[in-house]
Amino acid sequence: MSVAVEGPPPLVYSPRSLAEALALFVPNPQAQLFAGGTAWHTEHLTTSIMLPPVTLSLHLAEDLRRITYGERSLDLGGTLSLNQLLSVGGPWVPSILKEAARVIGTSALRNLATLAGNVCQKGILGDLFPALHLLGAQFEIRNLRGSRWLTTQQVAEEGRVALAPGEILTRVRIPQEDWPQTFYQKIGNIRTPWDERLAMMGLARPKNGQLEALRLSFHLPHSGLIRIQSLEAELAGQRLPLPHRVRSQAQERVDEALNQLPVPASIFQRDRVLHMMRWILTRLDDD
């Protein structure tokens, strides 16, 4: 029976390991990586799958799916699927990362979508990236010559994980820290227009009636990640519950930050961010 797709088929390689994948870049420097393919397809929606002329499909590279438990950090392989991440039992994977992964797409999509794929797509940087940023994660990028590490701060500044030709995001390293309180809320889902989505999250460590550490971030699609580290520093060390005055000042700081965005937040987004901020600051009373 005839095949519906016309034109020369793309050249597809399916390396079985990272080393094999990196070696394939030598004769094919223009090759593009294909992991879960979920974001790729939605961007290139046609009856056939629009693959690049030379494609490196990473679905057989088992070593890119490894989870390594260290004393001080957790290493997650780049092509680990989101459901594999959610299946990790115990306290190893921070709950905020699981919460962020659980609300991405549908469960069937999460069997395909990969950790690195999610982080590398600029359009969906609001999914896992804000949680990884709060957790202080780092990304290992490898090529044939060696590896480099990117901090989430660098990625936030650039607005994306910029991979040079021949590079692969191989691991995400998450430092093991104790965050007894986590807050996560995402507004909008796969069917919501991209620019109406919003993600808000926080990590807090109350100790002996004091707020030992706090990290907060908001992600608006047009403006990217908003994190006010000076506010976090001011709130750290405060006695709990936070006095009304401190909470109000914090709210004002967030409001100011929203006012200074290059692309203004919508009334709805602004309202939700401030509401979430109020909610987090009130919940910090629960030691």
Partner: protein, 160 residues
């Protein structure tokens, strides 16, 4: 390009192009999903298959990736004992057949429960909600999922 794979327990060889999705090839070469159109975004659930024990939207899986892998379609799943047992529970809970979503929902929910046997009520509700339909069968599916998990847990504990 001819690729060998296991389709619903049978060794088959299917012919397709690198750029085609598994859905397209299954529809043309194996005669499955004949009456279905899908969203091509992986969100409607109508083209889901189980690929190596994991449910995936076949419209997003490139055909070249299924070489020597195991694919189970909803049609294949409906011939299994597990389907019949799960279906019986749902029927007892009062499932009314919906032409749009019943088969898709059962396949989707069952696959999820296989992957996450510890799923709670809220999680099941979320998973059922992933398949868009207004037929009103969601509460029945939720009750059925809870009973299925109870039964599996009882079997697991009994084996200890």
């Amino acid at each position: 390009m001819k690729l060998p794979l296991i389709l619903n327990g049978d060794d088959v060889t299917l012919d397709g192009d690198t750029r085609e999705s598994l859905f397209t090839v299954l529809q043309r070469e194996a005669g499955v999903f004949q009456e279905k159109t899908n969203c091509r975004k992986g969100t409607c659930g109508r083209c889901h298959v189980v690929l190596d024990s994991k449910e995936v939207p076949s419209c997003l899986v490139p055909f070249f990736q299924v070489k020597q892998r195991e694919v189970v379609t909803p049609e294949g799943f409906s011939q299994t004992d597990e389907y019949r047992q799960f279906r019986l529970i749902l029927d007892e809970e009062g499932l009314v057949e919906c032409a749009e979503c019943t088969d898709v929902q059962i396949f989707h929910l069952f696959s999820y429960l296989e992957l996450f046997p510890q799923a709670g009520k809220e999680e099941c509700r979320m998973v059922i909600g992933e398949i868009p339909c207004r037929c009103g069968s969601r509460p029945v599916l939720e009750r059925g999922a809870a009973r299925w998990l109870e039964r599996k847990e009882a079997v697991r504990v009994g084996r200890r």
